[in-house]
Structure formats: C-alpha cells, structure tokens
Symmetry: C2
C-alpha cells in the first residue's frame, strides 16, 4: 500500500518522534517540532485516516497516536534511509575487532559485544558453520603422564583443542603413532561425516591398535563436532531489562528464550541472507511478539555465513541499528576471510 506524499510525511514524522521520545504524538506538538506547513486540524484529519488504515493507534481517547507494527514496517520499507556509519565510527569498529582477531569465536564475541554496546540492545552472533569444512590436520601435544591434547585444525581455519586421558603411560613415540595413523584416517575428511559410526569403522580398521585409542578417538570426534558446530555468541542481555518499553515479564520471557541455546540457534538458522527486520508479531517466536529482531549476515569469501543480530523493543532507531550491524558484519567477514587465508 502506497501512501500519499503528505500522509507519508506525517507518518514519518510521527514514527521518528515516537522512536526518539517514546511518548504518544499529538497533532499540536507534531506541528511544533517538525516544520510541517499545515494546521493541527489538518494533521488531525490525516491522523484519523492513518488510524483507520491501521498505521496508528491511540492508547486512549485523549492521548496522542502511537505507531503500530504496520507503521514501523511501512517506515522501514518505504521511508527510512540507511546512512552508512561515519568514518570515525567505522574506524572504531575496525580497531576494536582487530584487537581480538585470533579465532572466529573471538571475533564474533567481540562483534557481539561491540554491537550491543553501540546499540544498547541485546546482541547475538553466530560463527560460520563448518558443514563443508574438512579436517586439515590433527596434532597431539603431551600435557601429562596420562593426558594429552588433540588439536583439530579444520580447513575453515577453526582450531579446536580437546584433552584426553589414557590408561597407559603416554610417550612421544605413542603420540607419533597416533599422529601418523589418525592423520591418515582423518585428513581431508568432511567434519560432518565424523560421527559415531565413522569412528567405529575407523577403530575397526586399526585392529588391536584401536584398543589404545578410545580416548583419542572420542577427543577427535568431539573436536570435529565442535569445529563444525555453529557457536552462538551473545552480549548485553541485561540491557533488555533496562529498556523502558519492555515490561518485566516480557523481558524475562525474551531472556529465557535467548538463553535457550537450542531454540535460539534454530531461529538464527532460519534468518534470511540479507539484512532483515522482524517487527513484533512478525517474529515466529511468541516470546518475541513484543520485540524486534534486526539481523544481517556477514559474508566470507563472497559466501553468506554467520548471523549478526540484535534483539530489542519494537521502538528502535532501525536506521542506525542497521547501519551499525552492516558495518560490523562487513568487518567481521573481512577478518574471518583473512583468518582462513592463512591456511
């Protein structure tokens, strides 16, 4: 539905004023604040119309108007302009993320922290999935007389370490044997195919050697599993509780949902590839019926991978949030790309 130019202008002014102040907007104050060249009565007529069309509601008869989800949707789709973050902001983002650019996890944790701090909203981020990734190499480090560490290096640059324990005394020679045998078996194998059956067939192939290996094989399986699994970083959940627009119980529901790794991950997986805004009931999750989710994906080597998102009240400065998210996503993509290049 397209709105007439003046109606759109008024709607825009109402939405922006409400986003800024959180107070219902009246016809008079709207004229005062914006430079609209009409009388309050005209604005009232237009507002009545917008109310009929479902863009505005009145909390009560004698209050101003408040934008509905439909109004936010219209605003986001047709009115809002996203201006990229300023140069100085961009620089801040880059230097902040560079500082912890050790691993995908640390990059995304920093990204999540940063986004949350800049937007004052709760933020979540996921690492790239490793479904397509393969085992590059497995190394072993002795850490004790009966313990050692398996280092699984995946082709996507993810490195996972996992301790394991043996019943027998570990020697460098034994680790050497492990190294040879296991790299032969696992090198180039897709992470996603390293599962219980795979491990069992591998063990069978090792014959009696495999008797020494249960701990090692489990460690490798765990390592491979955590290397291919998406991990969800989050930050700023407590901010939701200080958001005046979100009442206590709602905030509790949202936080409980966000803390449930499984549900959250399944929601994040289903997010679209490009930047998207999901307002109020547009969210599939009932817990988020009074919240908005703004999300984007970063691309690594031109391929869309993990998600960067914020969760907050419906009253958000969408333009600002989107520009921050996209800017951070951009930097994250570059940094992770550099990480995997190294291989």
């Amino acid at each position: 539905m397209e709105l007439a130019a003046r109606k759109q202008k008024i709607l825009s002014a109402i939405v922006e004023s409400f986003i800024r102040t959180g107070e219902p907007v009246g016809s008079k104050s709207l004229i005062n604040e914006t430079g609209l060249d009409v009388s309050s009565a005209t604005v009232r007529n237009e507002m009545a119309d917008l109310t009929n069309k479902g863009f505005l509601v009145q909390p009560h008869t004698s209050a101003g108007r408040v934008p509905t989800a439909q109004a936010y949707r219209y605003y986001v789709d047709n009115i809002m302009k996203v201006t990229p973050v300023a140069h100085s902001g961009r620089e801040y983002i880059e230097t902040t993320l560079y500082r912890n650019a050790d691993s995908p996890e640390s990059i995304l944790q920093s990204a999540s922290d940063l986004v949350s701090q800049l937007t004052d909203l709760a933020s979540v981020a996921t690492t790239p999935d490793g479904e397509e990734s393969r085992v590059h190499k497995i190394s072993f480090v002795q850490t004790g007389s009966h313990t050692a560490m398996a280092v699984v290096i995946a082709s996507n640059g993810i490195i996972k370490t996992k301790l394991f324990r043996c019943e027998f005394l570990i020697t460098p020679e034994i680790l050497e044997v492990f190294d040879k045998a296991l790299n032969k078996t696992f090198s180039g194998v897709k992470l996603s195919s390293i599962n219980q059956p795979f491990i069992q067939t591998a063990a069978a192939r090792f014959g009696e050697l495999s008797l020494f290996m249960p701990g090692v094989l489990m460690a490798i399986m765990d390592g491979a599993k955590s290397a291919r699994e998406i991990s969800v970083c989050h930050s700023g959940y407590t901010r939701l509780m200080f958001t005046p627009d979100i009442d206590f119980l709602t905030a509790r529901g949202v936080i409980e949902f966000l803390n449930n790794e499984h549900d959250l991950a399944s929601m994040l997986e289903n997010l679209p590839i490009d930047t998207s805004v999901s307002i109020g009931r547009e969210n599939s999750r009932t817990e988020l019926a009074q919240s908005s989710v703004v999300s984007t994906r970063y691309t690594v080597d031109g391929k869309p991978s993990g998600v960067l998102a914020v969760v907050g009240p419906v009253r958000i400065d969408y333009g600002r949030v989107i520009s921050i998210l996209e800017s951070v996503a951009d930097t994250v993509g570059t940094l992770i790309g550099e990480l995997t290049d190294i291989m």
Copy 2:
C-alpha cells in the same frame, strides 16, 4: 552481645519467618505460626526491646517488625545451624561438575552455573591463581603456513594455547628449534616472572635467532600471563533483576559492579579464607550496601585457593546457601586437585 534465651528464640522465629515470606512479622501471626508458649503481648514487649536494641525495625507504626542487618548478623553468628546438603543433592553436585572437568576454567564455570541455579542468586567464582606456578613445558603446533600455536603447560595443570603469526614460512624444523630453545629458557620458570623485561633478556640471549621470534615470545608471554591470572567466572546476574527485595536501580548498580572485572576481582581477592557472610553495609563496596555476599574458598591440596561466592539481597536463606556453597567448593577442590595430579 548475648541475648536471653527467649529473646533469642523470638528473634530466630522472626528472622526465619521473614526470610521465608518477606513480610513484616507481627506479634500475633508469630504466635500462630510458631509454637511459642506465650501471649502476643509478651512477644510484643520482647519485640519492643529487640527494636530498642537495634535488631528490628518497623517499616511504619502499624506494621510488623523487620530484621535489621544486625539481626541477620546475630542470626548467622549465634542461631543458624548449617546442615550439610542431603546425599542426593551432593550426588547431583558431583555428577554435574564431573561432566565438565576438563580444565579449572570449565570446572569453575560449571560450579558458578550450578550454585546460581541452586540458590537462585547471582554467583561468581575464581580460578586458582598461578603465582606460585611454573612453566612445565611449552609445545608448538603448526596451524598454517605462517601461523602456529604455542601450548603453555603450567605446573598447576592449567593449559593455555595462543596463536602466533610469523613473517616467514613455518616448517617443522623451525618449530623444533623453537621447542628446544624455548623449553630450555622457560622450563621451570615461575609464571609470574615471565614479563616484558624477562622476554627481552631472553631474546638478547638468543642472538640473531631472536629475530625470528617476536611473535613466538609474545605468544608465550601472553600464554603465561593468562595461565597465572585469576579468571572470574560468573552466572545468573539476571536473577538479581527478578529478586523482589532488590529494586531496579540497586540491581542495576550491583550488575554494573559485577560486570566490572577489575573492581570485582579486587573485592574477591580480599575475601577471607573460610566461609564468610557479609551483610548489607558490612560490604566494603557501596554498590552492595543493600546486598549480601556469601563466600567460601575451595582448597586444592590443602591450600586455600579460589573463591566461590553468591551475591543477592539481604534476605537470603543463609544456612541453605552456605551449605550449598561449601558442598560445591568441596567438590571443586577435589576435581582441581585431580587435574593437577595428572601432571
């Protein structure tokens, strides 16, 4: 100050009733609920006396009495009995912690989660410090053409990995050289003495070889630093916001304090060795003037090390919280002890 038997009994009943319900306790209801064999008037007289002595306050004239911090203190010191957690609870604690007994960090994170869950309070825990600990061994794993991972294994069982990057192509031979040279230099050295000057003298000793090493040396220094540094785990901060006794602004202040790693760490360092309870203004921190902190330390090989603590409102079931903390601390100590035994 010692109280007469009956006064103490009444105080005890008031404190326990208030801890349970959070409602001011009146003379009549106190008689109904507890089996006190006196009339309400007698109780009133005693209550008036306890009020004069500073143990009770009235929120207003016609309300019941509420225990003061002094009353909680007296209750904790003289009345309360700590009964160890039941066998089934104990078992639950042990199996939960066993599940993630990989490293001190993961043990203490689980412990913090567990304590928070069991007490419904915010919980913090610190890993043992590594000031006395020494470098046991340093290993290297190649992770890419120009990157490798240094594995610093400390004598306290802590294992830290740190990636580093070199300008030149890394080969197994180079890593071999690193391994020999650096283990010779660092083995047995106290973690606390590995600082910038130490690194520089070491570099000087390596002569021209040290030109290849800046990244490596930094990685080792960082690894040693993080191996000796106490890390603070925490859990359940959001619970503070759902605690009816704590108002919004106070909760915010407490959470902000807890999120400030530096301030929090300095408070935790100064906690006594045995179990302690700090009620309201007894806390050195003004942010915690309306909260209580219950803390204990776990012992590793008979030596008191890290802290396990909860932060919550003043109205806590101290007996229950203490028994949970001590039980978890006990298990944590054992598990970490086993971890270091392995060396």
